[in-house]
Symmetry: C2
Subunit: 427 residues, 2 copies
């Protein structure tokens, strides 16, 4: 099916600001609560949210084989399970409905009243029920920085790193959409050179700048996904702030990996931007430094050029951008990650989420965590309000943004913005 | 609410073999497909499966506030979310309906035809949709054995082990009920002293003898569960075979923990035995070897005396019991695990599953994995058919069983039985 929705010359009859992340070529998918307290699946063009449940009820998708309630759900899981052909047909149809040369909905005020919402009339929800969440560790700059700081600068990368897209399982229950605040966690830490751990609030709360992809039903138990088919099973991407408590992590993570240091919260941007919308921004990935095993070898472009930035906004002050990175720096791409994840027959389902790992770039201002940006807190960052940060303070808001841009077209993700609240106190 | 269902003197009008795991004092919960191809929630007394959906439709639970379709579902999640008061009321009511002194259902042949099934008429399903699966590492004997084999016999336990109920996140999508076969996984390994990894079938497939508990909705994001309330949120337990590929594990697990070595399959017994049914088998746990932080300190008995065994059945041969262990050996108990898991505010939901980690006992015949039983393959085990095993062979079936016994009463789990098939070949 042709990607007519990607036509760069198309304009929408809905207003779209020049620098909007959401031109008619984007057409992301999300779930929102409307002014009438109804949960629906929707998309967004410019600053207008579009109720796909209402559009479908009004008959606008009648040529596409869809169940009646496919958009009247509180998650995208069933729609994503319908597969790539359906996603493309729906995205192309939306593009047609809102094309500046199509008057049908444009001139129907009654329909528009049902279908269109201002952003301040809706409340974005988690777009999918995430069955399993996997987090990879695929940025060579990040892995090298961490290895240099905590192990051996001469052998910063562990022996398996250049062979395996290293990953681990995260916690689904604490994945939250942009806007939901996070509490500073308590836990066990072993401060400085002491020998007995203490219990109390984490002192080193960090963000991790990541992207994550959402999958469709991909395989049965026991059946691997070949690398050249992997992208067929990726619905789209979101921004991910994988909150981390560095002091808890340091004490707990040997030998089974990070646990409570990560599972208190992971924040995602609410609009899933489809892999189809990002197709024009495919680029060649970094050259392998060592030969990779056959099941990880791929042909063509499998990396994506997506500009990323992180800002910290102290309470009542202006934000300060602290990092600018790019998704294209990832040493291991999504196809390699998915092929590796399933090489043992592990089943991947609709709504599963896989994070990239912290996306650090080659320069010091492109690192994807405070741990790296302040080099373990040795070089604090100065905020615009004059205060300094080694890690994240209570009541700071961390904001991540991302967009692709080429030949005057910009496809973006909006933002994931999360405030860090002080520790929980029993009422 | 009194646990009248636990009355040891009660008999059922349904036949129960003397050594059955399922006397009227058990009343576990499960999900099965009936002879009419209907999925329902049920329980079991002796070798009779009981359709709770049918019982409810016939009005047998009318005094209990339950939604009409609570048992007509393909998972127990909603019933478990109803909370402990409801579980107890339903279990007590089932006990009353099948009490030998109650003729109501016993004498109603029409009702019995709707409600009762022979075991060969049903097919057990996964009892819950598992949102998140966590696996702990709470047996001191297992952690010591692993540390002795792979690190340092003098310092077998890592520094954090006596302070933290160490755990990590597992994969929900590959959890399967007893009876579903598992395929030998392929993956990356680094054999012997080579320097370059190879890709192929795992050569060292192992079981891990574990138990797992299933939770109800326990807390909101950010809110810890105090240790003395933890058992309120535990619905019940199952047997867990946490399949492991030791060669894949060895190469991949540093620094983020086991991943593909574990997520190809985890098998559970299909009947969830409630914590209430196991109450008579509470025992004191092992004494802490080091003082534990306050949030992990508890009063009273929080361990459970549950006999466990593992058998290997080669294809076409008789089974050989290779290990006898007990759940009471766990150094960290379930209350400590749940308090630790939520101390940072990580939310726990209905249907989450938490594994104990391999349950090894103090003697060599009570170790919970082939890795330990054969000491890395150095001492192969002899099967009854004369063949030997270092690890699990293709077409072997691994069977785990568990039961509590005291004063002539036995409450058991049945079994989790899983055949290992050869590697996947593309059709």
């Amino acid at each position: 099916m042709p990607l007519s929705a990607n036509n760069p010359d198309k304009k929408s009859w809905l207003h779209v600001d020049k620098n909007s992340d959401f031109p008619i070529q984007n057409i992301p998918f999300g779930v929102f609560l409307t002014r009438d307290d109804v949960i629906t699946i929707g998309t967004r063009i410019g600053d207008t949210a579009i109720d796909l449940g209402a559009l479908h009820q009004l008959g606008y998708f009648k040529e596409i084989p869809l169940t009646d309630d496919i958009f009247l759900q509180d998650t995208l899981n069933d729609f994503i399970a319908d597969g790539r052909k359906t996603w493309r047909a729906v995205r192309n149809k939306i593009s047609e409905i809102f094309d500046s040369e199509n008057d049908t909905l444009k001139n129907n005020n009654k329909h528009k009243e049902f279908v269109l919402f201002r952003l301040d009339e809706i409340e974005m929800q988690l777009p999918v029920q995430i069955g399993d969440y996997t987090d990879f560790y695929s940025s060579i700059e990040h892995a090298t920085n961490v290895g240099t700081m905590f192990r051996d600068p001469e052998n910063a990368l562990l022996p398996n790193w250049l062979h395996i897209p290293v990953g681990y399982h995260g916690r689904s229950s604490s994945i939250i959409p942009s806007g939901i605040p996070v509490r500073r966690p308590k836990g066990q830490t072993l401060p400085g050179d002491t020998k007995t751990p203490i219990y109390g609030p984490s002192k080193f709360i960090d963000f991790e700048l990541e992207m994550a992809f959402i999958t469709t039903d991909a395989n049965d138990l026991g059946e691997p996904i070949p690398i050249d088919e992997a992208e067929e099973y990726i619905f789209g991407l979101v921004l991910l702030n994988d909150w981390s408590a560095r002091d808890i992590q340091k004490w707990e993570y040997v030998p089974l990996g990070p646990f409570l240091a990560k599972n208190f919260a992971s924040s995602i941007s609410p609009w899933i931007v489809t892999l189809d919308a990002l197709a024009p921004f495919k680029v060649q990935g970094p050259k392998p430094l060592k030969e990779q095993l056959e099941y990880l070898q791929y042909k063509g472009k499998k990396s994506y050029d997506i500009n990323l930035e992180v800002a910290i906004q102290p309470q009542g002050a202006k934000e300060t951008v602290v990092s600018k990175s790019n998704f294209k720096y990832m040493y291991w791409n999504m196809s390699q990650q998915l092929a590796h994840h399933t090489v043992n027959g592990c089943p991947v389902n609709s709504g599963d989420m896989m994070g990239s790992g912290t996306i650090s770039g080659p320069t010091k201002d492109s690192y994807g965590s405070m741990l790296e940006l302040t080099w373990k807190g040795e070089k604090p960052l100065e905020m615009k309000d004059g205060t300094k940060r080694k890690f994240i303070n209570d009541n700071d808001t961390v904001i991540m943004r991302g967009y692709s841009e080429k030949d005057g077209m910009r496809i973006g993700f909006g933002e994931v913005s999360t405030k860090l609240l002080p520790v929980y106190k029993k009422k």
